[in-house]
């Protein structure tokens, strides 16, 4: 518990695609406790918002956490402009419950888009626990794919697909998933992390086959400790908080339409913030050129 100045340093930055970036952040107190399936909350600066990001990797000895994010809004785009040596104001965690890792038998890990990042430590832990791990990763196109090698290294079998066929199989991740679970293989459990809509269709695909399916939800959040309830996810019965009850949920218990609806609540404001940020960036560039 050493004293440190406020701020968490970005030790490494890697561009995985035009819109996907990896950062290794120095946060020993988070790394010490981090486990697969958990998340952190990051706030860039004094005026920043608190956003949850799932832990993509951690190194307890180096005291670092790896995050991977897709630039979809103001905060992630702003984060993407930071470089090695820069710091973020707040980095808190690990939050949420870790994945329940044990030897289930044969398991399938599905990672879609930026969801490949958080599925990786889960697949790795499941492999280490003795499971036969079949992984399916997918993205809209080739340029959005990453960590194929890392996923291959922790999987007994890896299927790669893209929506447009620019790499691997041309299909959605649900297609190979259905083939495997209906193909006679006894699948004990499925993990799916990706866009909410992908997780919904994975859950819909496995539900009639009664294959337990865990999804990791990324909802709107502020404190991440159960205080605000903004992250609550409607379930088919009742509701729970993603931050303290999750982030993993039984995909078959989630009220997906309710959940997707809640994600849209601040869409107008997200747009305003993004436009404003882009405008400022353009101004900066223009001033820089002068």
């Amino acid at each position: 518990m050493e004293d440190r100045p406020k701020g968490y340093k970005i030790l490494k930055k890697q561009v995985l695609s035009d819109v996907t970036k990896l950062m290794v952040i120095e946060a020993p107190q988070v790394a010490k406790k981090a486990q697969a399936g958990q998340f952190i909350i990051i706030k860039i600066d004094a005026k920043g918002e608190r956003i949850p990001l799932t832990i993509a990797d951690f190194d307890r000895e180096a005291g670092t956490i790896t995050i991977i994010f897709q630039e979809v809004g103001k905060s992630t785009m702003h984060l993407g402009t930071l470089n090695e040596g820069d710091s973020v104001e707040t980095f808190v965690g690990p939050l949420g419950h870790p994945t329940e890792i044990k030897n289930y038998g044969t398991v399938i890990c599905v990672g879609g888009g930026v969801g490949i990042a958080p599925i990786y430590p889960i697949a790795r832990a499941l492999k280490e626990a003795g499971n036969e791990v079949i992984s399916i990763i997918g993205a809209r196109n080739k340029s959005l794919l990453f960590w194929e090698d890392k996923m291959r290294a922790v999987s007994d079998e890896l299927i790669v697909c893209t929506d447009d066929g620019s790499y691997g199989r041309k299909c959605l991740v649900t297609e190979p998933l259905k083939e495997i679970v209906t193909g006679g293989k006894k699948v004990a459990k499925v993990w799916a992390i990706g866009p909410a809509i992908m997780m919904k269709f994975v859950a819909l695909a496995t539900e009639p086959l009664r294959v337990p399916t865990i999804v990791s939800l990324n909802t709107i959040m502020i404190d991440g400790t159960g205080m605000c309830g903004g992250c609550r996810v409607p379930l088919k019965e009742g509701a729970q908080f993603v931050c303290v009850d999750g982030p993993e949920f039984d995909g078959h218990a989630v009220d997906w339409d309710g959940m997707l609806g809640r994600l849209q609540f601040y869409r107008d404001e997200e747009k305003i913030a993004l436009e404003r940020f882009k405008h400022e960036c353009n101004l900066d560039k223009a001033i820089g050129r002068q």
Binding site: M1, D3, K6, Q29, V30, K33, K43, K47, G48, E49, R50, K74, S75, E89, T90, F91, V92, G93, P94, L95, I222, D223, G224, T225, G226, M227, C228, G229, G230, R232, P234, A239, V244, D257, G258, G261, R262, Q264, F265, Y266, E269, E270, I272, A273, R276
Partner: protein, 476 residues
């Protein structure tokens, strides 16, 4: 100047506190009550009769030396006034603003029997504010004891406990889960009641004087557990508050536009949502808002809503804000002053009204709320008359925002890996009322985590009592 006679003192009327005009203040988040000037403060202080057996002190949960600080103030010795104040209260600029003085010190003031009590709260604020800008009386740390203390939570209970232990020479570290210190003082109480600059200044001043460390971004229960803290510290105080919101159990509670008062106030206060998009955290407010509940938090949420409506609409047709409460005006738990301010600002109170369902549109957003009229029946366990629905009185309110302010309970996260720490069925920590000692050796607790949601000053009182007992333990 000759000493005033008691008769002359009693002839002075209670000095009014200047406030922002309601019409102006509903368009901003600046402080409503503007504070006394030196002259008015002295006039008010001159009203105090300096009772031999001051009842006011008995009414104060931390036992502030009220007659002494008032005497020093009116004699123009501000440094002494501060010193007398700080002997018992380390955070006067905060307490002077948010304590329910009418039921505490001022409620006991002898002058109140015949006319109006001395405005002790306003004088306390005056002394506190004076000290923040003049720093006449820094807190002094005793020589180091060599003992390490961890305080969980930097709200009123934790801060008070930390400061008292720091003064005794202990090495104190506060762990705070959010990115700034202050707890409910920064995430809950709005800027217009308690400016953040006052909270930050008060905390910084005390921490600097006493060398207390504050570790923000530490969620106890996740980043570290109570068990981890036990390995490293000689004593622990848990003052993690009551941060868990209570949601109404009615259909429609998960619709877009329904939020807890905690979420709404956190967006507005902690994250400065009223300054979006300059600050990144948005906060949405509809034209027709209902706040459910009538405690201080409900008043805060309603008054923030009103201001946001004005700011976002640019003043034209801003909309309306309702307080929906199932009991009557007599049972309202909020402070009179808060209710008065809310009414002045144009909040509409719907008493004896209970929500039964929140109504949504095809997009999953709030469009209204079905309510039932209530009447008061026999007294219930709380001694208040139980509200009972009037059959067939259902009606729909048209709404686009519903804020639920029905109280909070302790956040169980802090108890992860601390199963030995006994708790009540309400989730509150079981602790000795006078010492704050819990069922676990070396662990004390106080404030809302023990009592459930209460006041800032009662949490401070608990922090103080625990600090005294912890100091005894650490010195033994």
């Amino acid at each position: 100047m000759a000493e005033l006679t008691p008769k002359e003192r009693m002839a002075i009327s209670r000095q009014e506190m200047p406030v922002q005009d309601p019409k102006v203040r509903i368009g901003n988040f600046s402080e409503v009550a503007l504070g006394y000037a030196m002259e008015t403060a002295v006039n008010e202080a001159n009203r105090c009769l300096q009772c031999k057996k001051p009842q006011c002190v008995e009414g104060c949960p931390v036992g502030v030396k009220i007659p002494q600080f008032i005497k020093a103030l009116r004699e123009g010795d501000m440094a002494l006034a501060v010193k007398e104040m700080k002997e018992k209260n380390n955070l006067p600029a905060i307490c002077g603003r948010v304590c329910p003085q009418e039921t505490q010190c001022e409620g006991k003031c002898i002058l109140g029997k015949k006319s109006q009590p001395v405005a002790i709260g306003r004088l306390e604020r005056f002394v506190g504010d004076f000290e923040l800008s003049n720093r006449t009386c820094p807190l002094v740390k005793a020589s180091p004891s060599g003992k390490k203390v961890a305080v969980v939570g930097s709200g009123p209970a934790g801060l008070t406990c930390a400061v008292d232990l720091g003064r005794e020479g202990h090495d104190v570290t506060i762990f705070e889960s959010l990115h700034v210190a202050g707890g409910v003082l920064v995430y809950g109480i709005p800027e217009f009641r308690l400016p953040k600059s006052v909270v930050h200044a008060e905390i910084d001043y005390a921490m600097e004087c006493l060398g207390i460390k504050i570790k923000t971004d530490y969620v106890i229960g996740r980043t570290l557990t109570v068990r981890d803290l036990l390995d490293e510290f000689d004593a622990i105080f848990i003052g993690s508050g009551a941060g868990l919101p209570t949601f109404l159990k009615v259909p429609g509670i998960n619709l877009n536009g329904v939020m807890s008062a905690n979420e709404f106030l956190t967006r507005v206060n902690l994250m400065m949502g009223y300054l979006f998009p300059e600050y990144d955290t948005p906060v949405k407010i509809g034209k027709r808002v209902a706040v459910i509940g009538a405690g201080n938090v409900a008043m805060d949420a309603a008054r923030c809503s009103l201001r946001l409506q004005r700011i976002l609409s640019g003043g034209s047709d801003p909309g309306e804000v309702h307080i929906v409460y199932r009991r009557s005006r007599q049972e309202v738990p909020a402070r009179d002053e808060e209710v008065h301010h809310a009414e002045e600002e144009g909040i509409i109170f719907d008493f004896l009204t209970n929500p039964v369902e929140i109504l949504g549109d095809e997009r999953g957003a709030v469009r209204g709320m079905r309510c039932v009229r209530m009447q008061l029946g026999e007294p219930d366990a709380s001694g208040r008359r139980r509200p009972v629905p009037i059959e067939g009185s259902e009606f729909d309110m048209e709404l686009d925002t519903v804020i639920v302010a029905l109280g909070t309970s302790p956040n169980p996260l802090v108890f992860v890996d601390a199963e030995d720490l006994q708790r009540s069925k309400h989730g509150t920590v079981i602790a000795d009322q006078t010492t704050g000692k819990t069922t676990v050796e070396k662990v004390w607790a106080g404030g809302d985590v023990v009592t459930g949601a209460a006041t800032v000053i009662s949490a401070m009182g608990a922090g103080k009592r625990a600090a005294a007992d912890m100091h005894r333990y650490l010195s033994a």
